[in-house]
């Protein structure tokens, strides 16, 4: 038996509410102290201070440090990926999601051949890293379906990640063997009570099973682990931001061979008609990206096309390392746009070459390929 604890246990002992309250009332001296420490020394209280209204008044200073750390670690580059929605079939009832079970929308699950067509279309546009997404449907998009899709798409692009329902350790091993390099799991919200409000039915009700998903993936030898909270679900949003940062730090320590990335998605309009409980302003999101960088100097920070073009471009120098472009959130959207309902409305609709040009104008080179299947070592699974 491992002597180490799960993140669920660690989070239970983490005073998230106190940290958020400290953040709300942090003084200028707290910010100064957090800024003065080196990246490796900063603790969750420093992160809370950097996320505070007091630090917002000094955002320029925080942003400069964030840019310095990001440049040192990642250089003047941004990694590009594309989401591929394989299915919008879903058995869960998340009231904020455009795929929720009871919504009357056009549903579709791609066949493996259709998925390959989508991947080829994306490869022709330059993409070499695809993120495969599905709703949560055990039968239609189970582990066998995913493994088949991964094997087929692995012949088209060198790097594949998934953002789907959570699996057991053995199932993650199977997916890794099929060519899955990365697993992204949004906890949606880290607050247990809020989580229970939104997830009233289906397998997703099980908070602990979901929060321990990244650990199971890590134990299965998955090399890239992504976490995030859907900002807007829980008020105050800073509690979710603090828990996310704690989760990323935990995974970084425990799975020292894996790369950890953090996403900071804000709720977008969708067929659900959901109204967020909390609103994260642009300035606050920029501050969150910088605070994450100062707390997690080596973590990838992912910003999808949920965000507006100009805002996204401006955030890249501040700490964003991974971005998508020309995204469709409906299954089949790259070859037959609009054939099914999307998960949410994409905000930045620019095609990938246009995004690449905009980033080049800001002095950033787009890295399309940063992985080679020759490195895929399934024997690594532990």
């Amino acid at each position: 038996m491992p002597v180490t604890r799960s993140f669920a246990a660690e989070l239970a002992d983490t005073p998230v509410r106190d940290l958020a309250a400290f953040s709300a009332g942090a003084s200028d001296a707290d910010v100064t102290r957090a800024l003065a420490r080196t990246a490796g020394e900063r603790d969750l209280w420093d992160f809370a201070a950097l996320l505070s209204p007091a630090a917002s008044a000094r955002l320029e200073e925080v942003a400069r440090e964030s840019r310095r750390l990001t440049e040192r670690r990642f250089g003047k580059t941004v990694h590009m990926y594309a989401p591929v929605y394989l299915s919008n079939e879903c058995l869960t009832t998340c009231t904020y999601c455009g795929f929720a079970k009871d919504l009357d929308i056009v549903r579709r699950t791609l066949t493996v051949a259709e998925a390959v067509r989508e991947a080829r279309a994306l490869a022709a546009r330059g993409f070499r890293h695809l993120l495969l997404l599905t709703g949560e449907h055990q039968r239609l998009t189970g582990v066998d379906y995913l493994a088949q899709a991964l094997r087929a798409l692995g012949a088209v692009v060198p790097q594949l990640s998934i953002e789907v329902q959570v699996w057991s350790e053995d199932e993650y091993r199977l997916l890794a063997a099929a060519g899955c390099d990365g697993v992204v799991i949004y906890q949606e919200t880290y607050d247990r009570a809020t989580y229970a409000d939104y997830h009233v039915a289906g397998k997703k009700r099980d908070y602990a099973w979901r929060i321990e998903g990244p650990e199971r993936a890590g134990r299965a030898g998955i090399r890239r682990l992504g976490v995030g909270a859907l900002l807007g679900l829980h008020e105050p949003w800073r509690e979710d931001a603090i828990a996310t940062a704690a989760h990323a730090r935990f995974l970084t320590r425990r799975f020292w061979r894996s790369e950890v990335s953090v996403s900071t998605p804000r709720i977008r309009p969708s067929a659900s008609g959901y109204t967020p409980r909390a609103v994260v302003e642009d300035r606050e999101l920029a501050q969150l990206v910088c605070a994450l960088r100062l707390y997690l100097p080596d973590a990838g920070v992912v910003m999808s096309s949920r965000e507006a073009a100009a805002f996204r471009d401006a955030l890249v120098p501040l700490g964003v390392t991974h971005t998508s472009a020309g995204s469709h959130t409906e299954p089949g959207g790259y070859t037959e746009p609009g054939g099914a309902e999307g998960q949410f409305e994409v905000n930045d609709t620019r095609p990938p070459d246009e995004v690449a040009r905009a980033l080049a104008a800001r002095g950033f080179d787009v890295v399309w390929k940063d992985w080679d299947p020759a490195m895929r070592d399934t024997a690594l699974a532990r």
Binding site: E71, R72, R73, F74, G75, K76, T77, M80, A123, A124, R125, G126, F127, R128, R223, T252, W256, R257, S258, E259, D298, P352, D353, A356, A360, G363, F364, D365, V366, V367, W368, K369, D370, W371, D372, A374, M375, R376, D377, A379, L380
Partner: protein, 268 residues
């Protein structure tokens, strides 16, 4: 011209006029990288195999910015976490008809990118047996350096500090021992953040330095590359000229052994 003035770096029987190897990651554009390579005067350029995409569609591949007539391409295995992965990447280079000089990097930890000594030695043994010219990235461990030399590596490349840190030659004392014991060229790789660090490494007697981040993220990468070129040359010259030893105090004005002098009133 004395032997010392004609001072090429010789690795695996091949001569290089420059003692600076330049890495190609982290640049803001292919053009910025190309200009920096020219300004650096380098003759050897390292590229991550995982980034090479001969069928690139999103834009020109990184290799299209590197003049292969001008530089020896040194493909590297960065990203590999095990010996097996590194070996597979090296074979990929051969399959792509890239040079079979391999900068061997086995770094299981994606944050500090510190090299795994056990896996590195394993991979080096396999690659040498397969006919590759192997330049391994290692921690500044003098015993490991000798083991890799015995395994048939063409150089050893101890780190000055962790990759991308720009902290300088923090491993100075261990690097000095590696230089003292080595029968193959020693390249300080990683940690060199300023031209003064490069000069310091060269003054210690290392044969060559590898620089990437410090050039790539400088405001003016080409100008920084030129600065590194000068610093490497200055450091090498200083090493060959023989540095005056540093002293922590002035010499005592009255010799302690003056009484042994024949002219001393105490003698005879």
């Amino acid at each position: 011209m004395s032997a010392r003035e004609h001072d090429p770096l010789v690795i695996a029987g091949r001569s290089f006029g420059s003692r600076l190897i330049v890495g190609t990651g982290k640049f803001s554009s292919g053009e910025a990288m190309r200009d920096a390579l020219v300004a650096s005067g380098t003759q050897m350029v390292t590229v991550a195999l995982r980034r090479v995409d001969l069928d690139a569609t999103g834009g020109p591949d990184i290799l299209s910015f590197i003049d292969l007539d001008r530089y020896l391409l040194l493909p590297n295995t960065s990203g590999a976490m095990t010996a097996e992965e590194a070996v597979r990447l090296a074979r990929l280079a051969r399959a792509m008809e890239l040079p079979t000089w391999i900068k061997l990097e086995v770094t299981p930890d994606p944050r500090y990118l510190l090299p795994d000594p056990i896996e590195t030695l394993k991979a080096a043994e396999i690659l040498v047996a397969e006919g590759f010219t192997v330049l391994p990235y290692i921690n500044a461990d003098p015993v490991l350096a000798k083991r890799l030399e015995e395994a048939g590596c063409a150089t050893v490349m101890p780190l000055g500090a962790w990759i991308g840190s720009n902290l300088g030659v923090r491993t100075r004392d261990a690097v000095r021992i590696i230089v003292e014991q080595a029968e193959i060229p020693v390249v300080v790789d990683a940690g060199i953040g300023a031209p003064s660090h490069a000069a310091e490494a060269m003054e210690l007697g290392v044969d060559c330095v590898l620089v990437n981040t410090a050039i790539a993220v400088a405001r003016d990468p080409a100008r920084m590359a030129r600065a590194f070129r000068s610093a490497v040359e200055a450091g090498r010259e200083a090493y060959l000229a023989g540095l005056a030893p540093a002293r922590d105090a002035a010499d005592a004005s009255s010799p302690l052994t003056g009484f042994l002098d024949p002219m001393s009133p105490l003698s005879g």
